[in-house]
Symmetry: C2
Subunit: 356 residues, 2 copies
DNA sequence: GAAGAAAATGTGACCGGTCACCTACCGGCC
DNA sequence: GGCCGGTAGGTGACCGGTCACATTTTCTTC
């Protein structure tokens, strides 16, 4: 732990000495706060320029007890949805003068989750965003400790036990939207491929699907295949399973675009055309969705909006110490929208429906 | 700037008081450094547990003059390559006990570049990674100032002016690899769709392509179409342009998978089959590449390895004060590999080749 | 022209750790 | 017995800012 050899950076006091003022005046200048005459300001600025002074953010944080940093503990940001969320959060954070420390936890090394939380606790972040659909038990007590002292927002995570703010996609609405679109296209026998059901979002989308079918008031059948992952392979094998099951259906709602991609691959491999023989609707609107063949009809969820909202929730609480003293936890749902492309059509002619 | 209302966290001195030792002893315990008897350690640990003490990383950094933070200023991490790079860097950083502050600069708001650099300067990062293929002029002086005092690595960026370390994909080798694969499949008239030529990587891949053709010693023609972006739309219109040009060719090397996707879309829209009528090879190996139809033959570049290498370069320099005093800048190239799938075949029969 | 408010600036403590240095005890060896 | 080295622990300064408060100067106002 030897000191770095590089020449020490100038401090506020050295600037002060050079400008012939007190260190406090320099502080006033760099923070543009308090009374400073134009002449003095000019002198100080000149000294700053000459010494190439850059204020030390660390000292600042220590003294002001504000790190101006928000922590994000998220699922692996190789997943496009989470990457978008992080990007949205970052943009909004910067707009508000905050920095983000992003901890991206891979499925492979779940210990990182707790490690990141502890880390952020040490770094004295001003606020925390948790985007972990499957939060670990063991992390819960650390999270609780953090949430006790700083504002915390949960994204797409099930942490009712802790009284956190939360932001989420309206997954139930999304499930309903997708399903309704299929119904409106005339489908009465529908299959759905869900994501892992221990993800709140998968569960909620499935509920939305059920609701839509019920609300439609039509006699409609639902075949459900659940997966352990959201990826293409899972979609493919789920589709294969549905075909094997003998259930009859004319449209498939896959709860992610990747699942849809896998489903379509499986269908096409069996010589079925989409949407000619089978309609497919996805969820996420990943960038390539519009370039798939057929171009994928899907549900777009503005994940960057989710991230931005979470940041806003935090900064609001940080700015105003919750007016009138009450500290209510807030829940926000972000709306989704339907993106109609080419993968959904009317049901195949009766004669062409296949079985087994 | 009022103090946060939440109860102050306990400090090292309070722990010391409770354990009946000096603050320095507590410091020794939490850093597992120096001599502490087992009995004392136990007392201290108990006090820590009781007070829920968490060391203040900020105070630590200020005092030790080490932030244990590396900064990354990168292109927008919605771009999968950069996201992977960031993920690789992060993993390696954590492994070495460093944290990452990632600044993702969108094309839309290029001012962020400089803003991030300044920010990191303030935060006293221990090392910097710059992954900006198109670095702005105006950022250069800030970057120079930073690089003067802390280790800095450039990724895929052209900053010869500054004497930085660098890590990069072997783009020239990648271009050669892709092109050679086409040649080995019998193609003699090849087209390439490059990315924006002000990206060093696009330039280098093109050079690799030219080299491969030259080295093959065969009479081979190259048609070049350059784009302003790496996306699907650009690929599509570049392909259209190539078709219009009247040049004849039997294979296309697109410098990104998205460009390839667009090219294939355009070909298929014109009723041509890939690889039946035209072979296409991409670059990047994005996740969906293997699920495209046809599954895309492409060049895989281990971007996470690039990120990890950059971090290693930094931490090495931070650990050892460059043995024997000399501070040589280091350049590392990361190898790429060919991923053979279904989008490349032999050249179409002469009779089927089309023109104009 | 006196008094008070506003403007401009200075002083020293403090944030919560680490660093450098000091003291004290113990055992071994000459 | 004296000296040495290893072990265990303490003391106060310091990192580079901000905070609270004191002080001086300038401007209003009556």
């Amino acid at each position: 732990m030897k000191r770095p050899a590089s020449p020490r950076r100038p401090t506020i006091r050295e600037v002060a000495a050079r400008a012939g003022v007190s260190h406090q005046t320099v502080s006033r200048v760099i923070n543009a706060d308090g009374y400073v005459s134009d002449a003095t300001r000019a002198k100080v600025l000149q000294a700053i320029g000459h010494l190439k002074f850059v204020p030390n953010g660390i000292a600042r944080s220590l003294s002001s007890r504000r790190s101006h940093t928000l922590g994000v503990v998220s699922n692996d940001i190789s997943d496009h949805s989470f990457a978008e969320m992080a990007a949205g959060a970052e943009l909004e954070a910067r707009r508000q003068g905050f920095y983000l420390i992003i901890g991206s936890v891979e499925d492979g090394s779940p210990d990182d989750e707790e490690a990141y939380l502890r880390l952020m606790q040490q770094r004295r972040i001003d606020g925390l965003i948790v985007a972990r659909p499957r939060l670990r038990r063991s992390s819960l007590r650390v999270l609780a400790a953090i949430a006790e002292s700083i504002p915390t927002v949960a994204i797409a995570s099930r942490v009712e036990a802790l009284k956190l703010h939360s932001v989420d996609i309206d997954n139930r609405g999304g499930g309903r939207l997708a399903t309704t679109h299929l119904i409106e296209n005339g489908h009465r026998a529908i299959a759905t491929i869900t994501g892992p059901l221990d993800w709140p979002s998968a569960q909620a989308r499935l509920e939305g699907t059920r609701e839509a079918l019920r609300d439609a008031g039509v006699e409609a059948k639902l075949a459900v295949a659940s997966t352990g992952e959201w990826g293409v392979e899972a979609g493919r094998s789920a589709m294969a399973e549905l075909m094997r099951s003998g259930d009859r259906f004319t449209a498939v709602f896959a709860q992610s675009d990747l699942l849809a991609l896998g489903a379509i691959a499986e269908l096409q491999a069996r010589g079925l055309s989409v949407p000619g023989d089978m309609s497919v609707i996805g969820y996420d609107d990943i960038p390539v969705a519009r370039y798939m063949s057929p171009a994928l009809t899907t549900v777009r969820q503005p994940m960057n909006e989710v991230g931005a909202t979470a940041v806003r929730l935090l900064t609001q609480e940080l700015a105003g110490p919750s007016p009138s003293g009450r500290k209510r936890r807030r829940h926000q749902l972000v709306d989704v929208s339907l993106v109609v492309r080419q993968s959904v059509a009317g049901p195949a002619q009766a004669g062409r429906s296949r079985r087994g």
